[in-house]
């Protein structure tokens, strides 16, 4: 997907989408250290956004929480994150990362094909020139996250049901 030369910037749009996903998702109370802790976005294996995520989320809030972006080198650190983006470069590690956060209230977003089918929660895909996304509602509910129906209605494909494990 890097090879694609998008004028608006593919990763700028994806960064915005990442921000908006947080708006339609509710984390359980135990997901945060305390009420004031910031919502933490994490990337694994470098920064595929090349700073666009940091720029797009700077000074923004979700509800009453601030936002923090962390670019993780090590996979074990993902447990402290609320949203984890697994870039295309980490496709080989995706399965292991997903497995490591399984059961944790962490929203997983990826860009590799069939990401949602393979156990990820939201996977970016392209529909023509437009960036769309697929949702694995089962994975979402398994992680004890509540996703707004409005987001679900906008997904290209929804796998599983919200009530399933």
């Amino acid at each position: 997907m890097r090879g694609q030369n998008n004028p608006t910037g593919e990763y700028e749009i994806k960064a915005a989408f990442l921000f908006h996903f947080a708006q339609f998702v509710e984390w359980p109370a135990g997901a945060f250290k305390d009420g004031n802790s910031a919502l933490t976005y994490c990337t694994v294996g470098g920064d595929p956004f090349r700073g666009a995520l940091d720029d797009g989320l700077r000074a923004k809030v979700i509800g009453e929480r601030g936002i923090r972006v962390e670019h993780l080198k090590q996979l074990d650190a993902v447990h402290d994150c609320q949203i984890v983006f697994i870039g295309a470069a980490q496709s080989k590690n995706a399965a292991s990362i997903l497995a490591s956060v399984k059961g944790d209230p962490v929203l997983t977003v990826g860009e590799t094909p069939h990401f949602a089918e393979d156990g990820g929660m939201i996977g970016f895909c392209l529909e023509g020139n437009k960036i769309r996304f697929e949702i694995n509602a089962g994975a979402v509910s398994a992680a004890k996250l509540k996703m707004s129906a409005r987001l679900l209605t906008l997904a290209k494909t929804v796998i599983g049901t919200a009530g399933g494990t």
Binding site: F17, H20, Q23, F24, I62, G63, K130, S148, R150, L151, T153, L154
Partner: protein, 815 residues
Amino acid sequence: MVSYRDASIKRKLTFVILCACVLGLSVTCMAFEIYERASFRRSMVRGLAANADSLGLATAASLTFDDKKFAEQMLSTIRAERYVMTAVLYDKNGKIFAEYRRDGLVAEFKTPAWKEEGTEFNPESLTLYRNISLGGEKAGSIAIVSDLSELQSKMREYRTLSVLVLAISILITFVISSRLVRLITQPILRLAEIAGKVSTQKNYALRAISNGRDEVGKLVGAFNEMLTGIQERDAALQGAKDQLEIRVEKRTEELRNEVKERQEAEAAMRLAKEAAEKASQAKSEFLANMSHEIRTPLNGVMGMTDLALETSLTAEQREYLETVKSSSEALLVVINDILDFSKIEADRIVLESAEFDLRDCLESALRTVAVRADEKGLELLCEVAPEVPEVVIGDAGRLRQVVLNLVGNAIKFTDAGEVAVRVAADAQNGAEGVLHFTVSDTGIGVPGDKRETIFAPFTQADTSTTRKYGGTGLGLTISNRLVAMMGGAMWVESEIGKGSHFHFTAHLAAASAKEIKVGMPAPAELLRGVKVLVVDDNRTNRRILEGMLKRWEMKTFAVESGELALGQLSEAREAGEPYRLIVTDMHMPKMDGFELVEEIRRRPEMSTATIMMLTSAGHQGDAARCKELGVVAYLLKPIRQSELREAIGRVLGADNPEGAIPLITRYSLQDAREPGSSLKVLLAEDNVVNQRLVVRLLEKRGHRVAVAANGLEALAALKKEHFDLVLMDVQMPEMDGMEATAAIREEEKSGGEHQMIIALTAHAMKGDREKCLSAGMDGYLTKPIQPQELDEVLEECLQHRHAKLGAVVGVEGSE
């Protein structure tokens, strides 16, 4: 508006109530409608806002994730709301993101651009703008446009309902009000009905019934009071009227009586007037008859006395006869005066209007009294101002009568001095044709208190005057009246002992410049520039003479005495301009005319001038003395202008210088004027005494006379031979003078020359002169015939014949 004003109260009230009802309901309906509209709009806005909010919520995610398709799907869910025309979704930047348009919406309908959040009402639509936020951030915005069809249909329904309500309300109001109104109108109508009855039947006993204490009730009360008042006044008025009628009746009766009395008085007056008029008529008739009856014998007395006086008589006989003559003359004057006066009283005098020579008239009049003046040693003068016209129009006879009366009085009341007659144009009045006559004397004068009364009848200055001077005292009265008839006035200025000035004015218009002058006036060139010396002691006389001579452009010089004349003559001789003519008065103090002439004859070198003598009265032997002294003319004063001119012409025109021509006197002037001065006269007169008298008078003057006893004889005589003059008595048996004259004139119509006819009449009344003239006579003489008057007629006849002959001479060469 007018018809509304005339409408009944009931209708007006109903109308007012209905108006109020309609107005109130209309306002209420309108208020409700406005409120309904507002609340409906509010609910519309609320509905739209709810829709917008739910749509916003539904589309917020699609906006954030840029999902147009989904957004359009969501927008189209509003299709269920039929009134939504369009719904538009904008992105954060206000750009249209997605749109829904109702099916069948016209292409022209433009999708609204983003505005601020709020609502916008247009006549046709309502637009609602709302922001959409997501997570506290603005995600975009939405606009929904709704049409107002629902509002309009709702309003229509509402209006229909309003009209229905209004109509029902009006109907109900009308029914109720028309019943309620009756409550108010009924009493008023009843009152109006009563009032109408009162005014048509004049029955003030009627009363309106009051049933209430409201305004109408009060009105009814007041109306009833008014009726009571009128009723009372009516009664009072009727009483007054009855009284008045009685009074009028009484007064009418009185007036009727008065009128009756007056009519009776009028009738009595009319009777009295008629009686008086009859008496007056009788008096006039009587006077006329008396006049005739007195004049005829008086004519005989006077004429015969004249004739007797011309026979040889003893001194005693002559004295008796002179007394008879003067007595009869006085009697004649009295009779004439009385007749004139009664004519004036009866308004029977009609003034004649004919042309006559004023100077001739005055001069001939004065000549008749010249002798009397001379007898008293008075100077008698006549001066006519140059501006006075020669020929005037008026009644010469009456003018002469007035002048003679005044002059006669002047002579009567003057013992010494002069009597002068002056005529001038009346400068004071400035009126054309008014002449001012003055008769001045140096007599006893008229006392101041009598100056007014002397013009009243039967009055002289006092009765003693009458005794001393005689006379009827009617002369001035008559003159005064005559002057008034001539359009003038008479007044007197006088100073006791110094004399009187009797003035009168008369309207005598100048006649056209027709020459009446007859005779043979001297040609103007003969007189022009001749030097004349006038000698007269009387200043007025000098002035008169000078005036006459200057008119003929002679060079005159006047002196007042013989001595001065002599001096003037020698002066002129020395200057080389001797006088060619001397005109001297005879009576002068110190040196009289004869003495002057004697003096001149004594010194022949002094003057060779021709001498003419003027005298007031001829005396026996005067003529002889004149001849002896070589005086060429001896003329009686007052001298006639024409006579003087003729005489001067004659003496200056004579070829032989002196003594060769016979002495010129008035008679010689006449003789010289008419070589054959004998006239052939026909006298028609039935009275033998008068026949003899007139024949004698005529024969004495050298005329031949034939006598006819009546008109028929006169006509016969005229057929046989020619007469120069016919003297025609008016009253004759068989055929009177009038008839005869008419016959003669009738004859003349078929060719033949004009026969001169002079009437002789004893009738001095009833416009005899007019009667005579209208009968065709040329003039008239009143009996008793005065020689003077006869002479004038004869002279006129001679002139007439002379003129006629003169005209014929050119053709036939001789008579």
